[in-house]
Symmetry: C2
Subunit: 200 residues, 2 copies
DNA sequence: CTTGCATTTGACCAACTGGTCAAAACAACG
DNA sequence: CGTTGTTTTGACCAGTTGGTCAAATGCAAG
């Protein structure tokens, strides 16, 4: 029989996951240490291992939790909506994710940079399937002359690249802009960019 | 008096730097180990430390070597040339860098992801100065009505983001495209994107 | 207060880490 | 060949790493 988690369990598991997100997203899997995570979570190392059996298991839990959040904005792209509005709304949702979940974006980036050893299958199955499905919708719009005739896959890549850049390269963006908040400017630029690109 | 490096020194230093590039770009500074680098270079660990005094020194050497290569394409943007051609040529140079030097791109990405502790000053000084200078050129073009009126800084970010995406997220891009070469499609897309965006 | 379970901890371990060192092997040159 | 400087190596070290364990503490219900 399964027992419901106590308040302490909920609090500590959440603290560990948040600490793990901090550490893994900054140092990658190999560069992260249990000591760093335990310190950030305010627990002793053996105590941390009472809640998660291994370093790997914390990382896996984070990645699983991330996956849904990460794919949601694209899933919401609606083939029956107004083409240009749909794509631009998707791009804005993605940009908002970078602003609101920068650690998650960097965790993902780290994982891919390291060759995605732990999620390669997911990329090749789930992600590819989802992207292919949405790419077909976009292609249909292009064929109907409702948007400009561009390669749907590279369109999606360009949205990922541009929006995630503000989370993953945050330090660099802020260094160049002199610490001004980048997101207002980015949002305006994003609108201009895709409005012009998609115009049939 | 300075002695010229022997053939062996040249060969081994080059092998170490190449191995270091492999390992640092995949695992980040903390995740990289001297054993991994030594193995990849085909040397024993003490032998490796005969050529570089520390792990840090290998990393520093790589970063210094990278900096010039990395900023060159932007430096070559010429204020006296044809505006749209200049910007599009810059974007294509950047894309070619991702294709030809993916490890360097990932080394840079790793460094920024980790908060750029070792190059923050360079970003705030040299990089910011260079970008500001080129941004002013672009702004002048926009003011003269030679290109569309867009934010020059975010234009540059969009070029960085899109082109580097193909090196840094290589595994993901190939997983989604089913292992087709992405660069031809990316190059075409890049041309379309900026041609439409910059049109006054 | 006591019993039983959940939680926390200090001490510990083997493997790995960055780095040192003296001695050995090698290369070049007269 | 011998000598001299360069290159390579095995053995080693102290600190860190992921992880274990038995014992101690906290806590809630009867």
């Amino acid at each position: 029989m399964i027992k419901p988690p106590t308040r302490i369990q909920q609090r500590n598991r959440a603290a560990i996951l948040s600490a793990g997100l901090d550490v893994f997203s900054q140092f990658g899997f190999r560069g992260a240490t249990l000591d760093l995570i335990a310190d950030a979570a305010g627990l002793s190392k053996p105590n941390l291992l009472y809640y998660f059996p291994s370093k790997e298991s914390i990382h896996t839990a984070l990645l699983e939790q991330l996956l849904d959040t990460w794919l949601d904005p694209l899933k919401a792209l609606d083939g029956t909506g107004d083409p240009i509005k749909e794509i631009m709304a998707y791009a804005q949702r993605k940009l908002a994710m970078s602003r609101d979940y920068p650690r998650e974006s960097r965790l993902w980036a780290n994982e891919i940079l390291q060759g995605a050893p732990r999620i390669e299958d997911i990329l090749k199955d789930d992600l590819k399937a989802l992207v292919d499905e949405k790419a077909q919708i976009i292609k249909a719009w292009a064929d109907d002359g409702k948007i400009a005739d561009i390669d749907p896959h590279h369109l999606i890549f360009s949205i990922w690249a541009f929006t995630q850049h503000y989370a993953d390269f945050d330090v660099q963006v802020r260094a160049v802009l002199g610490n001004k908040d980048p997101y207002d400017g980015a949002s305006v630029f994003l609108d201009t960019l895709y409005a012009k690109l998609l115009q049939p």
